[in-house]
């Protein structure tokens, strides 16, 4: 790979690119006007905090974004390889740690490519310039006379004997990033923009140790937490269980756990301790069979989200429709129960966690236990797939609390499956009430949407609270305050995608955030977008029916954004919408959304067979996620999102009695299986020149909506309450 010199190469340490840089590199991506626009780099400006030239001819890149199966490390490696002009296998991604990684907040919100990718790209471009300047100085030539081929410095296309690694003197990259420089335009990419195999998969198909769960530290002991028998319970007495002498029991208030030399011994001891303990249980949960009542009758804070009034247009409404849509509480149900290791050394604490936000976790542990954050280090190690704020952070505090009892010794805590399902934060139950008016031409002229939900923004540190499970159980602990929901504007929390993306002159959207939190809630993939898009897109079909319009045409008639139109047309074409078969018990439906109203576009068509059960047979999706780094990575994320959304929409519902979660294993919380998973076809709609957006969450809402609409098409009955089960269909048919 030999590339022509980039004319915008700045001298080392230059604060601004040379005059004319932007115009003299046709096609080069114009850099942002200031470093502030590259938020992660502005926050962590030293180049060596992003990359290091490592012995053996490799480049180590540092990111604050963690890998959990979404393939982000591969995409980030592609970006770095591209900008540095080195082959992809030379790039190694360093594990994320509060000790040495750039602080990029939490790995969430489908923002890793925007945040970390843009920072790495710019840091690598500037590092390349620094290295070329060093080479030019040695060769007594101008940097613009040099090119790079797989890290080797070339002059007039010939080797100079210099390479990145021979030029790398200690401290060379310990300099602050200058003003943004132009980066390579996608048209000249040879590594980025093409499908690259995931760098983490060879370990995973051969069973090599890779997960935190596989990490065994010298002298490590094993801890288990004995959770209360109910969400609200107080430990009255530990009783007097007979335990082996090498087992240590840890009690602090209602926090109870054991530490033993092996996990098997810890598990046995935990069972004995659980059996002997006496608790006072309080029934604190609502009726899981009447979530509407819980949502509508709980005290709530009412916040306007969007209001654009056009009374004249609204007055033209000749038909008014109103409907309510709900989702139950949903579980992360990750394949691995949460795990953590901690070591307590005097005042210092070291933690290994699969948290999505190691910096926030560090601060929350410190705040929760009254420690100096500077004495707490959190290293990330991979866990199973994470789809939001799961139990990882809570397990980390558990490990710290148990390790505190055996100073100097690493203690690993593994949650049971039942604790994972019963104690990790859940995605909140939600209700969306929609009301809209059509004019006599069948156009939507007015829309009101009210959303009831607990907050989604319950990660450690949010709302100024550590928000770690065990803190509420410690002596003197207080119940975790209800989760915040983020600012009402900016598509946060329950109101993510609550504002329809259609052209509607008169519109009002209101959030009702619940002020009590009997069931702990926090972020789950796509936040409120899953229910809001399901509701909006179901309602769009209901309105289309009122207007006597085809669902696809009805949507297109209310859209002006050509990218939105394009994904709907592409998905419809992919599915053969116009020529879809009309058979009894078989239905087709469409769903569309632009994620957050400002990120990736996704349209889905579903084929559903409703005979004895609700069976999603096929899904067709078209997505526009702007410039794509790893096309196969995007397709994998969209396929996975589509299947997980199918599972949520047709199978999943957290159940509880008045004291505890009862859906605590795979038999009581079934997820979609191989014989039930639909075939999924994904088409990426090219969007040259558009900025990158995330792909991991865009399918959740549109797929659920497409399934709901296909089910209505198949049965003639509209099911508005998720999950879309056989029982719900029967109820809907009885109602209609």
């Amino acid at each position: 790979m030999t590339l022509p010199p980039r004319e915008a190469e700045p001298p080392p340490g230059a604060r601004t690119p040379p005059p004319g840089a932007e115009t003299s590199s046709p096609g080069a991506r114009t850099p942002p006007p200031s470093l502030a626009a590259i938020s992660s780099l502005a926050a962590n400006p030293v180049l060596s905090s992003w990359l290091a030239l490592s012995p053996g001819g490799t480049v180590t890149i540092f990111s604050g974004k963690v890998e959990y199966g979404q393939g982000v490390w591969t995409a980030l490696a592609q970006i770095a390889a591209e900008e540095l002009d080195v082959a992809l296998p030379r790039i190694t991604v360093a594990p994320v740690s509060t000790d040495g990684s750039p602080d990029e907040g939490v790995t969430s919100g489908s923002l890793s490519i925007q945040h970390s990718g843009s920072a790495l790209r710019q840091a690598c471009a500037q590092a390349r310039a620094v290295l070329l300047a060093a080479a030019a100085s040695k060769l007594r030539t101008a940097p613009t006379a040099l090119t790079v081929d797989d890290g080797q410095i070339l002059a007039a296309g010939r080797p100079t004997g210099l390479s990145y690694w021979s030029l790398a003197s200690p401290g060379l990259l310990d300099r602050a990033a200058g003003a943004p420089v132009p980066v390579k335009p996608p048209g000249r990419w040879s590594v980025a923009g093409r499908s690259a195999p995931r760098i983490d998969l060879p370990d995973k198909v051969t069973g090599r140790p890779r997960f935190l769960h596989d990490l065994v530290l010298t002298g490590m002991h094993y801890g288990r937490v004995v959770r209360p028998p109910a969400l609200a319970a107080e430990l009255l007495s530990t009783g007097d269980p007979t335990l082996p002498p090498d087992v240590r029991t840890v009690r602090d208030g209602s926090f109870l756990g054991v530490v033993a030399p092996t996990d098997a011994a810890a598990l046995r001891a935990a069972r004995l301790v659980a059996k002997a303990a006496r608790w006072h249980v309080t029934e604190s949960l609502p009726d899981d069979g009447d979530l509407k009542r819980f949502l509508l009758s709980s005290p709530a804070e009412e916040v306007p989200v969007e209001s654009r009034r056009d009374e004249a247009s609204a007055a033209a409404a000749t038909t008014i429709r109103t409907a309510e849509y709900t989702r139950p509480f949903l579980a992360h149900a990750s394949m691995a129960p949460s795990c953590a290791i901690a070591r307590w050394d005097g005042g210092a604490v070291t933690v290994w966690s699969h948290s999505q936000g190691v910096f926030a976790l560090r601060d929350a542990i410190a705040a929760g236990l009254g420690l100096d954050p500077a004495l707490v280090t959190v290293h990330h190690a991979e866990g199973a797939g994470a789809y939001g704020h799961n139990g990882a952070d809570d397990a980390a505090l558990d490990a710290v609390l148990l390790a505190r009892a055996v100073p100097g010794r690493p203690v690993r805590v593994l949650w049971s499956r039942a604790d994972e399902m019963g104690w990790a934060p859940l995605g909140p139950a939600m209700l969306a009430r929609l009301s809209a008016g059509l004019d006599h031409d069948g156009r939507i002229v007015t829309w009101r949407q009210d959303v009831w939900s607990n907050g989604f923004i319950g990660r450690p540190g949010r709302g100024g609270e550590p928000r770690l499970l065990a803190l509420a159980h410690l002596a003197g602990g207080r119940p975790m305050p209800p989760a915040p929901d983020g600012p009402p504007t900016g598509a946060m929390g329950s109101t993510r995608n609550a504002v329809p993306g259609y052209h509607i002159p008169d519109l009002e959207v209101v959030r009702h955030r619940l002020l009590t939190m009997p069931v702990r809630t926090s972020s789950l993939r796509s936040l409120g977008a899953f229910l809001n898009v399901f509701a909006i897109e179901s309602f769009m079909d209901e309105l289309a029916e009122c207007a006597g319009a085809d669902p696809v045409q009805f949507r297109l008639a209310h859209l002006t954004d050509p990218r939105a139109v394009r994904v709907i047309e592409e998905a419809a074409a992919l599915a053969g919408w116009a020529g879809r078969p009309r058979e009894d018990g078989l239905g087709y439906g469409v769903g569309y959304a632009r994620y957050k109203g400002l990120a990736g576009y996704c349209a889905a068509v579903a084929e559903v067979a409703a005979e004895n059960d609700v069976r999603v047979r096929r899904l067709w999706l078209a997505v526009d996620v702007g410039t794509v780094i790893n096309p196969d990575g995007v397709v994998n994320q969209v396929e996975g999102g589509a299947i997980q959304s199918t599972s949520w929409a047709t199978r999943e519902r957290v159940t509880f009695d008045r004291a505890r979660i009862t859906s605590v294993n795979w038999d009581t919380y079934p997820v979609l299986r191989f014989t039930e998973a639909p075939g999924v076809a994904v088409r990426i709609v090219a969007a040259p020149g558009q900025p990158e957006t995330g792909a991991g969450e865009i399918a959740q809402g549109p797929v659920a909506a497409a399934i709901g609409n296909a089910l209505a098409d198949a049965t003639g009955a509209r099911v508005r309450d998720l999950p879309l089960t056989r029982e719900q269909v029967i109820r809907a048919i009885e109602r209609s």
Binding site: K204, G385, Q644
Partner: protein, 162 residues
């Protein structure tokens, strides 16, 4: 806790171990033999992350008591490859990029290898049924099925499975 001697052949190597006979085989493999491939997912045999091949059949090892493994031959995902050559199913998983988080992958590969050993040319529906005891939360089902079919297509028919 009673300890007993356990004789088991794992990935071609005969082992004599001391183990609690009531402990799950998964513990013996992970804690006793240091194998990371079989993974703990639920402890009740409901998710398949811990699957291994015991005397030719794919089984969950988290609910398989150690005493029942006495005298058996066990293959884990680590034992499928032939020297440097990956098992066709492993190779097909890479070719199809058939994973996201990869936590369930060991069990999937083991279940698929056992399927192909018994049925070298399965239909798609047979693959889906064979993997129905393996859960994937990331939603990679389509790629996994495609990988197993690809591995099957590559195997010379009648070749004995490892």
């Amino acid at each position: 806790m009673e300890q007993q001697e356990l004789h088991v052949t794992v990935n071609g190597e005969a082992h004599t171990l001391t183990a609690d006979p009531d402990s799950p085989l998964l513990d013996v493999l992970r804690a006793g033999l240091g194998l990371a491939g079989p993974r703990f997912g639920c402890g009740l045999g409901l998710c398949g992350a811990c699957m291994v091949i015991i005397d030719g059949r794919a089984r969950t090892s988290c609910d398989y008591p150690a005493w029942a493994a006495e005298g058996t031959t066990v293959t884990t995902v680590e034992g499928l490859r032939d020297g440097d050559r990956l098992h066709p199913v492993q190779q097909a998983f890479l070719d199809e990029q058939a994973a996201q988080c990869g936590y369930c992958t060991s069990g999937m590969i083991v279940a698929a290898a056992a399927l192909l050993a018994a049925n070298p040319a399965p239909a798609e529906q047979e693959v889906r049924e064979a993997l129905d005891g393996n859960l994937c939360r990331c939603g990679v089902h389509g790629r996994i099925v495609a990988a197993v079919l690809k591995a099957a297509a590559r195997r010379p028919s009648g070749q004995a499975a490892r």
